[in-house]
Amino acid sequence: MRSLVRFLAINAVLLGIFCLSLFLGRYSVNFQELLSSGLASEILFNIRLPRILAAAVLGMALAAAGAALQSAFKNPLVEPSLLGVSQGSAFGAALAILFFVNSPVVIEISSTAFGLLALLIAYMLSSSIKYGGKILRLVLAGIAVSAIFSGGVGIIKTMADPLNQLPALTFWLLGGLSGAGWNDLLYMLPLALCGIAALLLLRWRVNLLTLRDDVTFSLGTDPGKLRALVVIFAVLAVAAVTSVAGVIGWVGLIVPHVARKIFGADNSQIIPASLILGAGLMIAFDTVARTLTAGEIPLGIVTSLCGAPVFLLLLSRGGES
């Protein structure tokens, strides 16, 4: 009962952030203008609304994937970039920018493909490492794959044309939803929703991965298979949103912890709560990114800059909220 009230509360907060964000911006819009002015409704429905929805999907995917991966890897410090997925996606995007600088579709497809490829390589590498347990091996392989792909990104930067490709590349790498429209939303939506829906369906069963593997086994679930399933769906969602928004840190790490602070440990509550909190937080960060200065602050910078203090503040506050 108490958790139902809390869910209603975070939903109300999400709705508030959504409405506020819709009417905030360099071109200020109020209700009257919305009804009378064509420009106002154009801005609202074709510029702000798709961008806010993209931010919501981005936040949902990163936060739900973070929550699920922390359980799957039995490590509360895990975030979606851990398995090399983010750096793989960044490399895919960089490669596409080098050859097709003006084609967002190619950039997004290449980014998703390389994100998934990075996971695949990490998984295969992990079986050849002769050190530590299964989980540690996978994490080590992920770190190695990340390093290789981020080296690749560095090489592409040196090859890029400094007037045209390099700025595009740098801006993409900083991450953000600047100029994200209905099309971008449509590109990332199918894969992102597929991943999110699967994690939502598995929300209770994910708990079994936080137990000892032999206990999970004795509860009728093969921990290796369940872990692989969770990782695949989490990565699918992350790769899809990363292809549009670039590498966005922190949210996948902090939102699940904030959710645990409010709802306890049970993933059947944490995964849905992370979806809502992730959406709300990302919309808020993106609103800051596009309104704080005359220009546009890259979203990745805002999430790190605001995310870290928010994280410390929430975790250092004693007592349950």
Binding site: K74, W204, N207, F217, S218, G220, A265
Partner: protein, 262 residues
């Protein structure tokens, strides 16, 4: 009621030269408590892993109610056999109630979330074990004895027919030992087949209906505790001087005062 049976089970870990289990045939009788005794490295843990199908025997087979467990799915087996490890530290601070709910996993579909029905089963189990008041505590904040009872509760919530426990009383004080042993005894009196490992000879003779002694991969003695646990057998296994006596016919063994002075 369910009996578990090993038929000619041998097991060798990959890349090793000798068998850990060297042809074990043994019956764990239904509705009884069986204590598995044996020195460290005698093969007890491996034997348990084989009962739980975490490991497959190299040769031989395991049967539950006459059916080979190889032919049962993991989910089917988990509705029959439940496992209680010595220690279990979940990653996140679940409440006891949330933790016990995980014991319902074998009975739920892959995408299912527990319901009020599962809730009722948990309530019955915690009331039976006298730990209903712990429900809203965090598992990590429990004392050693409380934790052990909660582990047993999680296995009982699974509604298994066979309960396998790894040294369930280790590190506990006398009072908590008695509570855990009583829970084990009650489970068997309620019709469950209970198998537990222990290093404590006295504990085995106190609660077990059947004692099995595993040594160096072989089941060297099995049967009634009063007959199996004799002075000669125990001295043979541990190679130590022991003080041996019988209280109400039950064998009691302790280290002799001069057994550790070289």
């Amino acid at each position: 009621m369910t009996k578990m049976e090993l038929r000619g089970v041998r097991f060798r870990y990959h890349g090793q030269r000798t068998d850990v289990l060297k042809g074990i045939s043994s019956v764990f009788p239904e509705g009884k408590v069986t204590a598995l005794l044996g020195p460290n490295a005698s093969g007890k843990s491996t034997l348990f892993k084989i009962l739980l199908k975490v490991l497959e025997p190299s040769t031989g087979s395991v049967h539950v109610n006459g059916k080979e467990i190889r032919q049962l799915s993991l989910a089917e087996l988990s509705r029959i056999v439940a496992w209680v490890p010595q220690e279990e530290e979940p990653l996140f601070p679940y409440t006891v109630h949330e933790y016990l709910m995980l014991g319902r996993a074998p009975h739920l579909g892959f995408f299912d979330v527990p319901t009020g029905e599962d809730e009722k089963i948990i309530n019955r189990v915690v009331t039976g074990l006298g730990i209903a008041k712990l429900s809203h505590r965090e598992t990590m904040s429990l004392s050693g004895g409380e934790k052990r009872l909660v582990f047993i509760a999680r296995a009982l919530v699974q509604q298994p027919e066979v309960l396998v426990l790894d040294e369930p009383t280790v590190h506990l004080d006398l009072r908590n030992r008695a509570l855990v042993l009583a829970a084990i005894r009650r489970a068997a009196d309620g019709g469950k087949t209970v198998i537990f490992s222990t290093h404590d000879v006295n504990e085995a003779s106190l609660v077990a209906d059947e004692v099995k002694i595993l040594n160096n991969g072989r089941m060297i003695k099995q049967g009634d505790p009063g007959k199996v646990l004799t002075e000669e057998v125990l001295k043979g296994i541990y190679g130590m001087k022991l003080v041996f006596r019988r209280v109400d016919g039950r064998p009691i063994a302790e280290l002799a005062p001069d057994s550790f002075r070289g």
